[in-house]
Symmetry: C2
Subunit: 371 residues, 2 copies
Amino acid sequence: MAVCLFAMGLTSRKEKILQAIVDGYIENCQPVSSAEIKDKHLPALSSATIRNEMAALEEMGYLTQPHTSSGRIPTAEAYRLYVEKLMPRRKLSRSELKIVKRYFNKKVTELDDMLKSTAKVISEITNLTSVAYVQSADDATVTNIRIVRISDASALIIIVTDLGVLKDSTVNIGSGVTDEYCEQASRFVTEVFGGHKISEINKPKSLVKEVKREYEQVFKTVLRIFKNYSHEEMLSDIVLEGSAKILEQPEYSNLQKAKAMLEFLDAKEELVPVLQNSDDMNISIKIGKDNELRDGMPECAIVTASYNINGVTVGNAGVIGPIRMDYSKVVSVLDYLSKTVQMLPAGESASDDEAQPDDGLESSDSVSDEE
Amino acid sequence: MAVCLFAMGLTSRKEKILQAIVDGYIENCQPVSSAEIKDKHLPALSSATIRNEMAALEEMGYLTQPHTSSGRIPTAEAYRLYVEKLMPRRKLSRSELKIVKRYFNKKVTELDDMLKSTAKVISEITNLTSVAYVQSADDATVTNIRIVRISDASALIIIVTDLGVLKDSTVNIGSGVTDEYCEQASRFVTEVFGGHKISEINKPKSLVKEVKREYEQVFKTVLRIFKNYSHEEMLSDIVLEGSAKILEQPEYSNLQKAKAMLEFLDAKEELVPVLQNSDDMNISIKIGKDNELRDGMPECAIVTASYNINGVTVGNAGVIGPIRMDYSKVVSVLDYLSKTVQMLPAGESASDDEAQPDDGLESSDSVSDEE
DNA sequence: TTTAGCACTCAGCGGTTTTGATTGCTAATT
DNA sequence: AATTAGCAATCAAAACCGCTGAGTGCTAAA
């Protein structure tokens, strides 16, 4: 009865009840009734008392009823409180750890593939659709640029950074260009751009005032490539895994909603802004309208973690699903993976460094277990 | 009445009726009634006559009824006949051509991206889910191999073929290795593998009997990379576009079926065998059990075209959808695109060759319209 | 403050009826 | 012999209907 709108301080009993409801609803996707709570969590109390508390929680905005005579379901607000305070922290189970190992033992991979594997693991363990993307290379520091003639009229520009090799691009060169020239040009651009972050390079004011005339063309081209990197390029590197899992969630059993969701996932580019982990928090949880951006965007929750190598964020990965999701599980998986990835020998060097020490030249692709 | 089981020679009237039914059903996904055919296609005849013909066509295995008192729907057999004989050949409409142009004018891209664009166009025009994949590089001929030091302890192995640059792989090298050595090694492996197809190289018996001791390690590594290319690597290069479109098809309005289909699409690897365009036909149409391979595989039709550059098939792209699909449209789109792609200046060279002739060095990425 | 008790609400289920589209068959017609 | 009009028969889908039961809110007692 006693309404306390300026709440924030929930009595411990209310908290217990709220948690029970959220937990229950996460599990069954069914409105939770007072009797159910009494039976499973608070046998000491009568259902009537619990009903009263539930009415209070509804007043406070944490619960609603689909219709007058049904149990309660949590509001988005309730979930927010839940992930912040109420949610049990758990560890990965034996079998879940096994899945992780299965993916990461086998191949230690390039950055791209790593994100892919991560996404697969996440989707498999959480049974949700997972998304991963490689962050724009903005924070990478250029260490070396090589221009390599690969045929009469074309060359490859290879940009090496502390985070690995950027996807290189083929360019046309006049057929008059010599190997000699390429090498000198390589040296020149490395000199100019080396040691700088890509974000710096892309700033409007140029790093260098004067460019030797003969390298002007090369210089421009490399600059263009960098420009591409912070915008377009990153878009293509979004990985989705398990989009079919969406349909397993009862909230998308309605075809309308399912379609809306899948369409949203199809337009991968639009995912970027919601995936971006605004704060430098490791794990970000966005529930419901936290991530409103498109009109038709379906109501959902997005939990992402950022993944670091050498202290630099290389990408994000996480899940996207209905607001009612097992946050506890999701968070523990993401957390564990982010730590796992951090410890992987990544970037340019392969994993089997020590394994075959006298192998002068060792591919970093997935060949480690063959032969 | 007169049953003619050993048919094959349908009377022209039967053909007309069958075509009308297939066309009608493709359009509305609704059983077609005798009255409907009379009204739209054969006003000279009475519905009773048409009914008789329909009964005959049913006897022959071209039609069925969902239930006794409904119109007829085509069987898979009918579709096969339809695509072979009955289907109207059409050209792309103005607006459809516009869509194609929109995608291919903007950027002339690397092989990968080209397939992606193709898939997007296909999906957009046909309103179906489209799939594209880059064929294993087996048929590519090696023209050049470069080993480039990119840092103290790692190098990039770049394999250039007549179809373009293979995704290169980073390898570890001992830190004692000099640029000099890399260059010599490059020359050596190019000498060995140059001019050969990857499929040859991967044959068990080696091309060369004796390898200079000092290059043995390099040699092995390159060999490994080639091996990877014909198996694992190609798997990852499957592109799906518009998977949400599946849900637009009424035959997948059933959640069960929709899920089965999406799951099938999710497991991209499994798609390869069905996409493979067995014959050297340009366009392949597989309807219903033509492409049975997995148990739970949902009933569907798959239409693919193979795409060639310099006479070599570089990949396949097509659509996957319900058996009831607009084959006429799909085929014309695929056909047109396959011709378009063939004419693109592709592989290693960029499009704007002539546009900026004195641009000594021109990126082939999507920057052509800027500045 | 808690609880027992009771009336009230309402989604969902199962059964029945109605409707309407469409066929197959028969008998008449060309 | 082929076509057609006419008519009874069929059956999915929609509309309707009443019941059931889970669950609540409220009141009055503990």
